[in-house]
């Protein structure tokens, strides 16, 4: 009898837990009856006035899904819920790869979060579920760069808060040992070749320190540097890919010469250039801003410096220094309830006008801020990556490039380096592959939104 009672009790407890009645974190939101008053209105052209009730002061909870940086995004949620204690924003951190499996499923089935972070490479999968921002577009465009490139049917569903692009990282100890100073930062590719030779160390015929390595980092420079000479990735129709051209070939040959002519590195020396740099084997690499975080986290013993991507000719402003990709602002779930959407809209407006939090976010991800209020910010200017990049308006965004571009360029380089394929032939193959793979994507490039885009093309 006693055993039966214990069994029934244990089954009952287990059932309660299984149906989700486990003691979780209870809601911290409380009803508010009096609106805040006397608080400053924040923002520049686009403003946010906190002196009012949100959701009529009634308690409301929003879920916010993201895949990274929960502590920096939590600061936005905390600042907002401090102003509006009746709102609870629960951040759910997800693994990057599977986020893109779960999120579209959840949005489709109506169980998705009210707020979710976006990466523009998944634009096509998400755009149908996104609520347009309820913000005055002229004010938004006055405060944020690149808004027009994000217009879909005259509306903005998300935009870029920051710009990430490429630059050169160098090992400061190796730099000093080679007798180089900050005045020796190369401004041109020819100067970089010279510096790379000084940074290369050999033991007889054996390479012991690469002056420059680009192993496994092919896509970063191949799809960015042709812009320096005015070569776009798309034809004038903004639809046809244009990889197989003399400028792209010259970029490929320039990097190939570093290995084959100057011998400042090797395809067989450090198969992954950024790891090789972190492990103190390689003196210089070209990669994107996110590597700064990896250096601090994984390779804290490496003393490093940065400089802007060199250009072909001294003294000449290139058409664009490089390609960039934007880090996107938060999306709002069009399938959420009207109350959730209204609060989410308010939260987005609050986030876009909070300069301090936006600065912290940009510093965290080493991205140039698109918020014009931060254009001359001292903390941004002091950041090793961001200070190297220079003016934000000299970088071009081709749009959320289809993955076929990056994968085809990777294959092209592997064929050139490891399979003995001639660069021209490998380039032609990459062109054919990309054409075939994006033929039915309906992708339209945003290159023509670039300020310096030629009127006659």
């Amino acid at each position: 009898m006693k055993r039966s009672g214990a069994l029934v009790a244990s089954i009952g407890v287990t059932a309660l837990v299984l149906v989700g009645c486990s003691p979780g974190e209870g809601s911290t939101a409380v009803e508010v009856t009096v609106a805040p008053s006397g608080l400053p209105v924040q923002g520049e052209t686009l403003t946010y006035d906190p002196n009012r009730l949100v959701n009529d002061g009634e308690v409301i909870s929003l879920d916010w899904w993201l895949w990274d940086g929960d502590e920096v995004f939590q600061a936005f949620a905390d600042a907002y819920t401090e102003l509006h204690p009746n709102v609870e924003i629960s951040i759910v951190n997800q693994p990057w790869d599977d986020y893109w499996t779960k999120l579209p499923l959840a949005l489709r089935d109506g169980s998705g979060p009210a707020l979710f972070n976006i990466h523009n490479s998944h634009h096509d999968n998400l755009i149908g579920y996104l609520e347009p921002y309820d913000l005055p577009l002229d004010a938004l465009a006055a405060d944020y760069l690149g808004v027009d490139a994000h217009l879909v049917d005259g509306q903005v569903h998300y935009l870029d808060y920051g710009l990430m692009t490429g630059l050169v990282y160098y090992n400061a100890d190796m730099w000093a040992r080679a007798g180089l100073t900050e005045d020796d930062h190369p401004a041109t590719w020819d100067e970089l070749r010279e510096v790379a030779q000084r940074l290369t160390v050999r033991d007889g015929d054996r390479l012991t320190q690469a002056g420059f390595s680009f192993n496994s980092l092919f896509r970063e420079f191949s799809l960015g540097l042709p812009y320096q000479e005015g070569q776009h990735l798309f034809a004038a129709d903004m639809v046809t890919p244009d990889l197989d051209n003399p400028t792209m070939l010259s970029v490929v040959e320039r990097f190939l010469d570093l290995y084959e002519v100057d011998q400042v590195g090797s395809k067989d020396f450090g198969p992954v250039a950024d790891e090789s740099f972190g492990q103190g084997q390689t003196a210089m690499i070209y990669t994107w801003g996110h590597f700064y975080g990896s250096l601090l986290e994984d390779y804290p013993d490496i003393d490093f410096g940065t400089f802007r991507t060199p250009v072909p000719d001294t003294g000449e402003e290139p058409y664009a220094y490089d390609r960039y990709n934007g880090e996107s602002t938060t999306g709002i779930n069009a399938g959420a309830s009207a109350e959730e959407i209204a609060v989410a809209q308010d939260f987005v407006r609050f986030s876009l006008t909070h300069a301090d939090l936006m600065r912290d976010l940009c510093l965290h991800y080493s991205v140039l801020p698109m918020y014009t209020a931060l254009a001359d910010d001292p903390a941004i200017a002091a950041h090793p990556v961001l200070s190297a990049l220079g003016d934000v308006d000299r970088y071009i965004w081709p749009g959320p490039l289809p993955a076929a571009f990056e994968s085809s360029v990777d294959v092209m380089w592997e064929d050139i380096l490891y399979n003995g394929v001639e660069p021209a032939a490998a380039l032609a193959t990459a062109q054919q592959t990309v054409e075939r793979e994006i033929a039915h994507d309906g992708f339209v490039s945003r290159e023509n939104h670039y300020a310096a885009y030629p009127a006659e093309r």
Partner: protein
Amino acid sequence: MIARKAGAVLLHATLLGLGLLTVAPFVWMALSAFKTNAEINSLDQTLLPREWTIENFVNLQETFDILRLFSNSVLLSVTITSIVVYTSALAGFVLVKYEFRGRTAIFAFVLGTMMIPWAVTIIPRYTMFVAVGLQDSYLSLVIPAALSGFGIFMMRQSMGAVPDEVLEAARLDGASETYVFHRIVLPMSVNAISALSIFQFLWVWEDYLWPYLMINSPEKQVLAVGLTTFSGRYGTDYGGLFAATTLSIIPVIVVYVIFQRRFVAGAASAAVKG
């Protein structure tokens, strides 16, 4: 005699070598949990940490809430394993010891369920569970796992070895079918139950995609899903990942140690023709 001894020595040496080869990655992972990320990523690798640190373990509860994730996984694994073992034993017993029309067809259907790839059913299943409001509830993890084709197959094969005469004798003594099943058949199938328990516990313990899809609340999430959050878009916190993974394999080892004596016998008994 000498040849036989030499053969045994060779066999044991081979098995020892293969055992070490199998265990080496786990040893490396456990030792790496005591290294800094800088050392884990360094070119100059050593098995033992050059500088021992417990920072990765200390930070786990603060940044990862490992105790809650661990408890959730233990609760689910034990619950699902218990349910599966019982339902499998019950169905296996019926399918092997009772004569009725359609018995073979039902068993064939059970085997057929094992042939359908999991990936094919996951999206419609997800939609069904969301539609009935079971998302973010542990029932969504328990219900699909409650009946196991593999478990039924394994228990049916094992229970086929239980002599019919023993069951008939019990019935003649007035034992009910419930008594026969619980007091005679189950104790005689303990090896198969042990083997199935280990298999099922491991499957639930390491199940990732379904719990990830169905559970939204961080406080209800399971350990296998939690471990993936160490890998970000631009890099992986290897120290934290190794520390959490080292802790996460402890229950697996415990379960195996408890059941290992009966595991081999149970796995072998499933091969007996039913």
